[in-house]
Assembly symmetry: D3
Homo-oligomer: 294 residues x 6
């Protein structure tokens, strides 16, 4: 089924919109959906409309291609290990500048220009995100070897009090994935993972991952293979099998959020029109909904 078949007529949606009122939703926004300007506008329209009808939205974003692009501009070479950016101190400086000084700013401005009231945050603001160095291991000749990813961190604790205060005064938080250590070191955090932590810290109703595919599909080339509903244990068992590549951190983080009390997760295509809103008001028709299970 094609998203575009849905007319977003107010009064068809009214009962679903009434149900959404007061809900808490974390949107992980990144990748290609963030690059195209006209797509950006539609995602932001969805966000602003949700805000208008009383949904409490938090946006967590990544940096995408802009980081690598700027790194190259200053003569640094992007390097990835198993899909995660190795971030030395020089890289980190660029990562933060792009994330906080460019991407975050831009999303905030776009949301505000459409009539909501957003404020950009990184983990440094109000000690929002406490992180620690992430130790990854790779299998090497049958051994697990730790790999130094540099300034890449994992979340230790989210202080959601600021998000709660923002909700109370009608401000929509837009969060860049930078955390601070007990040692006051900065860490770059995977945005998919961060979104999951943020969602459980605010006891979100739904976490939405915007991707560039229509959802979990058994066969990427076969639209009819889209999984409309799936429970978390089943989804978990599909990781590294049917679920591969960039979809893994999204699905794994989504499952983690469900295990920590978030009620449902959505994998939706952020490169198509208004799929985020559609997925909320037409669950099962747009995107894949992951539920906690039996």
């Amino acid at each position: 089924m094609n998203n575009n078949d849905h007319q977003l007529d107010i009064f068809d949606l009214l009962p679903a919109l009434i149900d959404l009122k007061g809900k808490r939703i974390v949107v992980k926004y990144g990748g290609n959906a963030m690059v195209d300007e006209s797509l950006q506008k539609k995602v932001v329209d969805d966000i602003v409309f949700l805000d208008l009808i009383g949904v409490k939205v938090v946006v967590v974003h990544g940096g995408g291609p802009a980081i690598s692009e700027h790194m190259r501009r200053v003569g640094l070479k992007p390097e990835f290990i198993h899909g995660q950016r190795r971030t030395d101190n020089d890289a980190l400086e660029i990562v933060e500048m792009v994330l906080c000084g460019k991407v975050n700013n831009q999303i905030v401005k776009l949301i505000n220009s459409h009539g909501a009231k957003a404020i950009g945050l990184s983990g440094k603001d109000g000690n929002l995100i406490r992180a620690r160095k992430l130790i990854r291991e790779v299998i090497n000749d049958g051994n697990f070897d730790p790999v130094d990813m540099g300034c890449v961190g994992e979340v230790e604790r989210i202080d959601s009090s600021i998000i709660e205060q923002f909700f109370k005064i009608g401000i929509l938080p837009v969060i860049a994935p930078i955390g601070v250590g007990a040692d006051f070191e900065d860490y770059n955090i995977n945005a998919d993972v961060l979104a999951s932590h943020v969602a459980s810290s605010i006891e979100a109703d739904t976490i939405i991952y915007l991707t560039d595919v229509d959802g979990l599909m058994l066969d990427q080339d076969e639209p009819s293979s889209l999984i409309r509903f799936i429970d978390a244990p089943t989804a978990k068992s599909m990781i590294n099998r049917e679920i591969t590549g960039g979809m893994i951190p999204k699905v794994a983080s989504c499952i983690k959020a469900l295990e920590n009390g978030v009620r449902s997760g959505m994998i939706v295509n952020g490169t198509k029109d208004h799929t985020m809103l559609s997925s909320l008001v037409f669950p099962g028709e747009v995107g894949t909904m992951i539920r906690a299970g039996l």
Copy 2:
């Protein structure tokens, strides 16, 4: 008199501290005071202590040398016209990245690591700063010629409601000098001027300009020539005469703030120990206090 002669003993200061409680103070922080790390720590100590005793502090910062440095890194050539950076679109991207993604972040983190709760803002956050293109003129062959400064803006309106909300929930705002136009263009704004606008928008009691000299001096080489108190009209008459160079925008902005209801202005040396706090508790002994006049 040397600042360092002042022992900042709690109980000597107590009556002055009691008087400060509940006051609103805007601090313009920039230049060299921002570069040296141990100086930074002292300025931040002052800010955190003021926050602790119930002073409502707003920090407005510039970018200083970091902007030019990063521009050069990406192959752009910094260009200044009468002390103001000409900012084309390419430059603006760097300006924002450095201001919001590096300098602002750093100040926020430093303040938070000392125990207060700061959040960084630019004019994009919550539509804080509405700006418009600044038209400057230079005298050219006896004619006033407009000069295109690029994306350099002047303040049209400060929406101080967010600052007020932050004050209520105990958050200290740290503001980067980026504004947004009605046309949703971004503008780089002079931080000295912005501080003045912010101060009048919140009806501040005091605006403090941190510089690298001890205050207004008739003779820079003669410490005894420091002016301890001056009224705004007198200060105004000294602009372009005794007051020159980088001191001009500070003093002019400070006078503007006084004309718009701010009660007093301070020009203090941010490169010496705890001069900000000292200037507040020992007015007349540290820095120059500018008062509205008769």
Copy 3:
């Protein structure tokens, strides 16, 4: 232009909806729009959607044909003088029972079943409407003769504090046109006039009269004669000339509201689809907007 041409697509409307947020709107609901059940549902959809997006709505309703019908059932004969129901004590008992025990209840239930939280009020609730006996005069042989309309009242004072409290706790008030005198007599009040008083008491942004024609028309049979915008003085001068019959109290009450500070008035066709919402988001395209004038 036909109302039905408007697709009420959320994202076309978004900027207009953002503007509506927080506005205060009084809706006079009555006549035929109230009789047909499917029309009722659409009017209520509009009301519930406005409530959802943060508009503060008050509904004021009349009783329409239901009153006369029930009077006949108990053997009373409805009697009208210049379009106003003569209401003796026996009639008043029926009027109140129908207004409060049937019509008001029904509107409240319909609104609540669609997801908002309405509470029905008459002027007796919390002393909302203080009224006094209305003295009308008719021209008789060239003399003005007072006519005893019975228990028909005019508004002396609205105590809007309850409406304000309802707004604060998210309750939508639905008001039946019964007032109470200083003498504790009950009075039936013209609902068009009451809506005007309610609107000025809460400093409403807009008052909307739902009728069964498309707006003010110079020629009822000629759709193109619809007046899209008109100022209050011009409208006033048309009363008893182009404006006749049941439209007179609506337009006169609307003008009165504008004179007492309400910002705009709308005359819209409540028997067509979603004209109320359309008139708010497409002013000039649906219904007639009356503005205070120069």
Copy 4:
């Protein structure tokens, strides 16, 4: 002992009044106490005084003779099965009109005219009372046969949030016994039973049933047989034995309230002077107090 022997002197009562402050009391008002106008005034005086000294009062009322009277007026024949009115759709229309448009209005107005601030509610207002069809059975030839009572309902759920909000803003709720089903059908509910549900939903301290006898009496003709205190289990065992007729639903509902956490119940004579207040300040001297038991 005669109630009238009590002088309601303020200062004799002061300690008892101080104890009442802040208590929550549900008053079931109906029957003959509601018919006589001078008795009404006294009951309302008691209610308004309790409100004045800070007691949180809720009034739940029935319709009494007014319903049957109006039904006859429109040619409907009242019909009762085991003391409960069979209510078909035609009857229900009249029941609602009389309850909400006449009886409720009148009580609200009377309370307000004495200086308190009451608002009338039915189960439709703010979805206060969710009901479902009541299935009753009668013994017929030794079998239990279900009897169709028509639109008679039983309480499924009370949403007391509106009552709580009214308490906070100083409004006294007066509740008519109409509920709404999940199917949006209206239901007539027994007011004695409704009072019990309301009382437990707000964790009332006391529920008071106003009747036309002095309390529970072993012999109606012998004043000295009045039971002053009784515990719930004992009272329960007396149902259908010493307790008969119209007293049964009152006592049974009262016991139900006690089982659901209400602290005490009173059966008092609403046709005598100020018995409600007297029963509260002279427990054991006026009316019968039912207590939860050991």
Copy 5:
């Protein structure tokens, strides 16, 4: 007319009590009414009942005979000049100890034991009363000679914010007439005068002076000469003529309060039963009511 003729039946009084709700009343309590224990109890009953029905009461008290008595006990000789106690430093110590450590405590305890929540204050608490040395003059050989009254003060300023905060949290303030100077000296203040200042600082509705006569009387021995209503200018013209002795400061202070916005003043007999409450509910029948005038 004798006060005791009034039955303080709750329901006779109800309309008057409703009117009192929310009013602000300052009671000057002192002299003989304070000495007799059973009279104390009645005055306190009145105060507690007023508090119960939502009247905002402030009690201001004097010290009466207890001060002189204790002074004599420690060997000091009470000395009066024109009715005012000369208060040297030794005397002041005793004055404060008796006022704050005995009289105030006792009133507070009595009020609390009857069920209200009172807190005792002197001018030292929360800087409530700022005073300055009172300079009095006596006519001596035709000259005005200043007399040194010692530590006797006049009110410079009342900081009513604490009283307002107490009102908000349901606490009844009981104030002893001690003020503090800018020099941090303590001053004894005339309680009649203080009551007047307190009343105007909180914009009281009524100030009540409890005395030991029935009100203003043209002939103390002739009950029928009691003045029931009088306006302030007339009362003023009677000072030093019909009004003499200890009544002068009461009437003069009362007039001062009326000139500063208090709506009415009462002079009532605190040695008779419940005259304070009676004077409020039966104005014109008990005590003398002084009104601001035409």
Copy 6:
């Protein structure tokens, strides 16, 4: 180590001060520290500074020598049994006058003159302290004989709601050790013991006993014998052995507070400069800290 070695430089202390913010501290103030005026000023400086930085302070005080002195002045003979004043009715009158009308007043005034906002309370204010007669026993010929101490009481219950309300509105409570019985008798309470009850009733972080020695010392004449940290069980075992005389009630009360949830206790020398503040910011260096134990 000598207290005076500590420079109370703001910025040395900053981290410790940040930690103190929001803490709750009960200070028992009495004895010699209260007599010397210049010492008083320093203790009050500490209190006012703690208040300034957001610490919630409660002061509980005793009466010290002033009571005995005043008793002698009125011809009463102070009498002590095992260190506790026997207080007959005559003595109690003096005790209250001195405690509430002299000592409490003075502390309140001193605190307020330094810029905080204190209000004095005794147990009578707002029913703060409910007490009952204390029965003590002495060993007499091998028997335990009860001794009548007169109006000496022990704490039955602290109603801390007033303290909490004072905290909320920024008022610092200063409490005199007078309680009231269920029988409305007044009781004199040991201030050391009262401080402990107050501390546990507000779940204080720290209770501080100001004494005239440097802390718990194994040898009073040997400064180096000062115990810096001790746990409650160890301290308990030292009572009547190493801990003797006036230190016993302090240590015993402190232990009791720890057993009831207070986190730490301090025994510090109130006769030296700023030892209270020093003990909080330099724990282990000034005074003895008693901790709950393992």
